[in-house]
């Protein structure tokens, strides 16, 4: 490994200033994603800004009006185990729980997870389905962006120079919504997803009033399937409806070939997983 500089600021302002001053610098928190790229030699850092010494950025809070706010340095394990997340947004707890293994989840932060912009990840799919917003802060101010607009492509986000994700916010889902996140791996159970599907349903008896369906890990950013959402409105989730959803998802998505499956395989898999996720959501998904 080549030598690189490491800065360890103790305040958010100092970290932001360092990133602004050194355009080649990269922020690192848990390091679970970045260190793999460094060890593989694909990313050769010149300067890393370690965020771990910054205090007060890992809080998880809930407000009935504004919803959940997760500080960027909260670990995926913090989120998964948070009583607030489990009570109000169980799908997010599940999407964090299925990431890799406990050692990774203990280190990986939610800010790092979304900032890394890797399409093969579970939490972003659930967060996009939940309408999450990222707080992007510098030493002087904060702006907010929908996560769906923040993720631009592989390893590409809307972060401006000197900006860091300071928190992820999820609006309250409202009464009567059920949710489910379903991951499918093609290698080990700890692997990154070959496909991840996040779905939310508001049911009236057997009838779908509103639906949200996001397919992740097959396209460069999570894909919200709005045509499927419209199709589901007013229908019951019988075998015919589910089969049509599977067909629509397979037809409507343009998967990437990668080591977790060919594009053709993932196209079929995305449809099947969408059917399964909806079924899971309608039968098991906790109603809120």
């Amino acid at each position: 490994m080549r030598r690189f500089e490491l800065l360890e600021p103790e305040s958010f302002a100092a970290a932001s200033a360092a990133l602004l001053e050194h355009p080649e610098a990269k922020a690192i928190a848990g390091g679970t994603a970045l260190l793999i790229l460094i060890k593989h030699g694909v990313y050769v850092p010149e300067l890393l800004v370690n965020l771990r010494k910054i205090r007060g950025m890992a809080d998880i809070t809930w407000d009935a009006a504004s919803g959940l706010r997760v500080g960027a340095l909260a670990s995926l394990n913090d989120i998964e185990r948070s009583p607030l997340v489990r009570e109000h947004l169980p799908m997010l707890a599940e999407a964090c729980h299925v990431v890799a293994n406990i050692r990774i989840r203990n280190l990986a932060t939610i800010g790092g997870n979304v900032s890394h912009g890797d399409y093969q990840s579970d939490p972003p799919t659930a967060l996009v389905a939940l309408g999450a917003v990222v707080e992007l802060s510098t030493a002087t101010g904060t702006r907010e962006l929908l996560l769906a607009d923040f993720l631009l492509g592989p390893y590409e986000t809307a972060l401006e120079p000197g900006e860091l994700v300071s928190a992820v916010r999820v609006p309250p889902p409202g009464a009567g919504w059920r949710s489910a996140y379903l991951k499918f791996t093609t290698r080990s159970s700890e692997d990154r997803p070959a496909v991840g599907v996040a779905t939310l349903l508001r049911l009236d008896g057997e009838t779908v009033r509103e639906a949200r369906l996001v397919v992740g890990a097959v396209t460069v950013t999570p894909s919200r399937m709005t045509d499927v959402e419209s199709y589901l409105g007013g229908r019951s989730l019988d075998a015919g409806t589910l089969a049509e959803v599977g067909r629509m998802v397979s037809a409507g998505i343009q998967p990437i070939d990668d080591i977790r499956g060919s594009a053709a395989y993932k196209r079929r898999l995305a449809g099947v997983q969408a059917e399964r996720a909806l079924e899971l959501c309608s039968t098991m998904g906790a109603a809120r």
């Binding site: 990313y43 390893y155 070939d257 990668d258």
Partner: protein
């Protein structure tokens, strides 16, 4: 990875052929190509820099002309290396020109392999980047020769 496609350039075939052999012009059509020069009658050097998010690669390429049929076809062999991230690129490139009602139809077939660390980790990203380069090359080539 095979990249192939075709697009029409609004210029006569002889003009497109000349532009392809004008190395600074050709290099200016390839996004990320920061320098290009002729080494001898059939060999060219080029430097290609590409970025996917914060991941960067910079290849020193050696391009050899394998076959020429003026003004119809060129076949090239290209290879290069990024020493920093220990990755290699190899490409077999065929470019065909034929007259079209509104100019010249440029067809290309590129069989490209990315080997080494980048190839092991980043195939989908390389594929996506290649598509972007492809689209931008076509746009620049059309713009560069428009009005001819």
């Amino acid at each position: 990875m095979i990249l192939e496609g075709q697009f029409t350039i609004p210029a006569p075939q002889d003009r497109v052929w000349s532009a392809i052999w004008d190395i600074p012009t050709l290099a200016s059509w390839v996004p990320g190509c920061t320098s290009a020069a002729q080494v001898d009658a059939t060999t060219y050097r080029a430097h290609l820099e590409q970025q996917v998010g914060f991941l960067k690669a910079a290849f020193d390429l050696l391009l050899t002309v394998v076959e020429t049929q003026e003004p119809l076809l060129i076949r090239l062999h290209g290879e290069g290396e990024d020493r920093k991230i220990r990755s290699n690129i190899q490409a077999e490139i065929t470019v065909k020109l034929e007259p079209a009602p509104d100019g010249t139809l440029l067809g290309y077939h590129i069989d490209v392999s990315v080997l080494g660390r980048l190839g092991a980790l980043g195939f989908p990203l390389i594929q996506r980047k290649a598509k972007e380069i492809e689209a931008e090359f076509a746009r620049r080539a059309r713009a560069g020769l428009a009005g001819g």
